[in-house]
């Protein structure tokens, strides 16, 4: 028979479908829909040019999410290091053959397609660190020499991102990496030491920053320094959010956004526009949706048996958190403007797809929560 094995496969798929965390998926969809409504409003009440494309990207992202969620977790365990290395090679290639856009080289072009290796790295670094702690003997975790591989896995991509220059992504790698090491059980003392080290190294790091980055940091501490230059964004963003008040100015009626005072209002500053029109209530509801998603992810991570699955889910959760926190803190003037989008809401194909793939891995870990691995069955290469 041609499809002799079909019933078994089908049963397997049905099982996987049933074990998928559907409420979580509904939550993600709700967040995306908030974004689509916001993009509809930004365009002055039109699905063109942003909202319609965002819906299409969500659909593509959903397909990728399902593909990742239903794939065999063992492939990813096996493929974690090769994926990480290829992402590293691609990132290293960017300064050599990358496409320059807006003063930074972050993209690799393949004909009409362009691709940002640092996005791939955001996934790969989580898988690689999870892979590392999967088979690190638990009693060795506290040893200093066991810290070297994960620190390299974080440090090299972060340095490559800094050289592009992309401060936001570098910070993201650092947050995700440190968070995952903490989850894996690295001793408190190391973290205390690292924080002390960072405080001591800060003046030197300042010297290494580009002028425009210094400028951003300076205007962050004093936005009035240059109200029409780089402080303008923060100031206008704060005016927009603040003038929204408790209940907002109403859907499609944000004067700051509609009268074009906001920069990048459909990408990095979409939260500003949203809270101008929807007010404090709307902003808190959106943040609550994100927090709920994070709670879901934390509990999915707790339910996994293998360290790999735990850390993959936990790491992706950290990614989502870092994105949301940095973005909202940035537009409300808590941290300097670093150019991080609001995940699932900001207009942009790359960040949407990366986030959906990342959430696919969370669901994959959850589907495979009872799976444990034996080193032997995976073959010996790594």
């Amino acid at each position: 028979m041609l499809f002799a094995q079909a019933p078994a496969v089908k049963q397997d798929l049905v099982k996987k479908l049933l074990s998928l965390n559907w409420p979580f998926l509904a939550l993600v969809t709700a967040i995306v829909l908030v974004g689509v409504a916001a993009l509809y409003s930004v365009a002055g009440g039109s699905f063109e040019p942003w909202a319609s494309r965002q819906v299409i990207r969500y659909c593509v992202g959903l397909a990728l999410l399902f593909a990742v969620a239903f794939s065999d977790i063992r492939w990813w365990l096996k493929g974690a290091y090769p994926l990480f290395l290829s992402a590293l090679v691609l990132m290293a290639l960017v300064p050599l053959i990358g496409v320059e856009s807006g003063g930074a080289r972050r993209w690799l072009g393949f004909g009409d397609l362009s691709f940002q290796p640092s996005e791939m790295m955001k996934i790969a670094v989580v898988l690689a660190i999870a892979r590392y702690y999967q088979w690190l003997a638990p009693q060795k975790i506290w040893r200093p020499d066991a810290l070297i591989p994960p620190l390299l896995m974080i440090g090299v991509p972060a340095l490559l991102a800094l050289s592009q220059p992309d401060l936001g992504t570098a910070a993201l790698f650092a947050i995700i990496g440190a968070g995952m090491m903490f989850l894996a059980g690295v001793s408190w003392f190391y973290f205390a030491g690292a924080i002390t080290g960072v405080v001591l190294a800060l003046p030197h790091a300042w010297e290494m920053l580009h002028d425009y980055q210094k400028e951003r940091v300076l205007t962050f501490f004093d936005p009035d320094r240059d109200p029409l230059g780089s402080g303008y964004h923060i100031l206008q963003s704060k005016i927009a959010i603040g003038s929204g008040g408790l209940s907002g100015k109403g859907f499609m009626n944000g004067t700051q956004a509609q009268l074009n005072f906001l920069p990048e209002k459909h990408t990095d500053f979409i939260f500003t526009m949203f809270s101008e029109e929807m007010g404090f209530v709307g902003a808190i509801v959106l943040l609550a949706l994100y927090l709920l998603a994070l709670v879901f992810i934390t509990f999915m991570a707790l339910s996994c048996r293998s360290m790999f699955a735990k850390l993959v889910a936990g790491g992706m959760g950290l990614t989502l958190f870092a994105y949301v926190f940095i973005n909202v803190a940035m537009v409300t003037g808590l941290v300097p403007v670093v150019g991080v989008p609001l995940p699932l809401v900001s207009y942009g194909g790359t960040s949407m797809l990366t986030m959906m793939i990342g959430l696919g891995f969370v669901l994959n870990a959850h589907v495979n929560r009872r799976v444990t691995f034996r080193q032997a069955e995976l073959g010996g290469l790594w």
Partner: protein
Amino acid sequence: MSKSKALHYGAKKKPDYGRKQSYRFSRRALLVGGAQAGLFGLLGWRLHQLQIKEASEYRLLSDENRMMVQLAAPSRGSIRDRTGALLAEDKENLRLLVLPAFCKSLPETLDKLSHIVPISRGTRDRIRRAAVRQSGYHPVLVAEGLTWRQFALLNVLAPQIPGLRTDRSAYRKYHHARPMAHLVGYVGMAGKEEVDLDPVMRLPGFRAGRSGVEKTFDEQLRGTPGTQKFEVDSRGRVVRELGATPSTPGKDLVLSIDHHLQTVAQERLKEHRVASVVVLDVETGGILALASTPTFDPNDVVFRVDPKAWGRIARAKDQPLQNRAIRGQYPPGSTFKVVTALAGLHAGVIEPEETMRCPGVYRLGRARFRCWKSHGGGINVHEAIKQSCDVYFYETAKRMGIDHLAAVARHLGLGRIYDCGLPGQKEGIIPDVAWKRTHLMQPWYGGETVIAGIGQGFVSSTPLQLAVMAGRVATGRAVLPKLVLSPDDPDPEWPLLQLDPRHLDIVRRGMIGVVNEPRGTARRSALKIPDVLMAGKTGTSQVVNAYNEHKLSPYKRETHALFVAYAPADKPRYAAACVVEHGGGGSSAAAPIVKDVMTEALLRDAAKSPAFAGTSAETISGQIAVVGDGG
């Protein structure tokens, strides 16, 4: 819970690091989760600070903070004919708009406005829907084409009616609209692909050429937009202008057309359902008239468009939007005999004095090809052209073969598109062996050469191509049509045709015979101007064949009537071609039209008077020159 079971049974004496690590993960994950919640709390506190505690302060800042940038659409270049008469221009369009977000109550505002400008219930519905659908800060059009009185009144009232805005944009006005419709074309909202190329095209009031010259020369006519910066108060009223970069108006165009001749030609075509006529200045190639009937009024489709009226035009049975003079492809019929004669003489397969007998039918193998009448004996080239004898040209075509005929036809300007600024030209077909092999994947048959000799079968041409052919035969030069005059262009020196001048002379004399000698097919259409002769060739091309004979309506079964001509015969200046679709015989339907239009062209002699040169100063001198001529 399985986990708690595992905890009890798994606890043994030796420390189980794996289990310990797992618990540590759980502890730390909850810790991290708690930290995340705490940091979100920080964000919430920040939002509270901005949106609740300091809200009034920021609201004040936001109200002060209203600078508006508006793009100012450039005025589109005007289009004039060779005498300087306006064919298309931008007219000021006074508009009334409302910004729903600033209105206290939209219906009330509209009530107030309707005292000055009548607002129909349909408009009211449209405004209400627009106000709901789009952001309240997008202006909604209430009325356009206001009178100055209304405009002034509204501007006086503006401070009392919040949300009201007036502006001055432009609309396109076409003069001599119906005769010029196909040539000049019309403008419309930019299509999607144009918006993708240039986002400025999304601006309301921005128009792109949709057809005719408006389309071809869109980029020159369009100009570049400017910007205006305003400071507006919290009710959307302009407090002051903060600066502006002016828009650059588009360039003006001058066409070689003579609007008077064009109007005469259009009028003359009226009696037919579908017809077109082209008049060329053979020395410069300038197109003096290019009329096609049925036509339409472009003013109906560019300003205050009534969708129903537009639908009627677009779907009308005889397709008034189509320019037959460049898009109608007709079998040239006997007008093609001019080409066959020249090609035969050039190939040396016929001698000027050689005579043939026309028994009214021509046999090739078992096939029989009929002549329209039995001409008898003694038919030489001159008589064959004059009396339009089919048998003579069947034999000529058979002797030289299709490839030679096609080469000469192309040399005379047939079967190609001219780069003269008219979009949508059709190529027509000049068939040869290679063409049939590539397009139909069939071999060429001898019978097809025979009927090609009288311009039937696969051969097809547009009226513009036929006029160019007449011009080339008349001058012996490779004339090309031209539509746009520019002052810097010198008069073109067209290259000589690669044909023997003696052969051309024989054919020309035949064409003079057609119109002026006894037994000429267009004798009734001789010019009435003393000492000026017209040379021409009639054509009556068959539409029916064995396959479609029974399917066609009586009108569609009728032959096409064609006529090509040039004048004066001794010193050619104007060439013309006319096709009347299903008009019957070329001599009865097409030749009289050409006679009248040609008479008008010769009497006006527009080609000889200096063309309009552009600037306003010269407009005046041009007018004086015309007046002087009249005196």
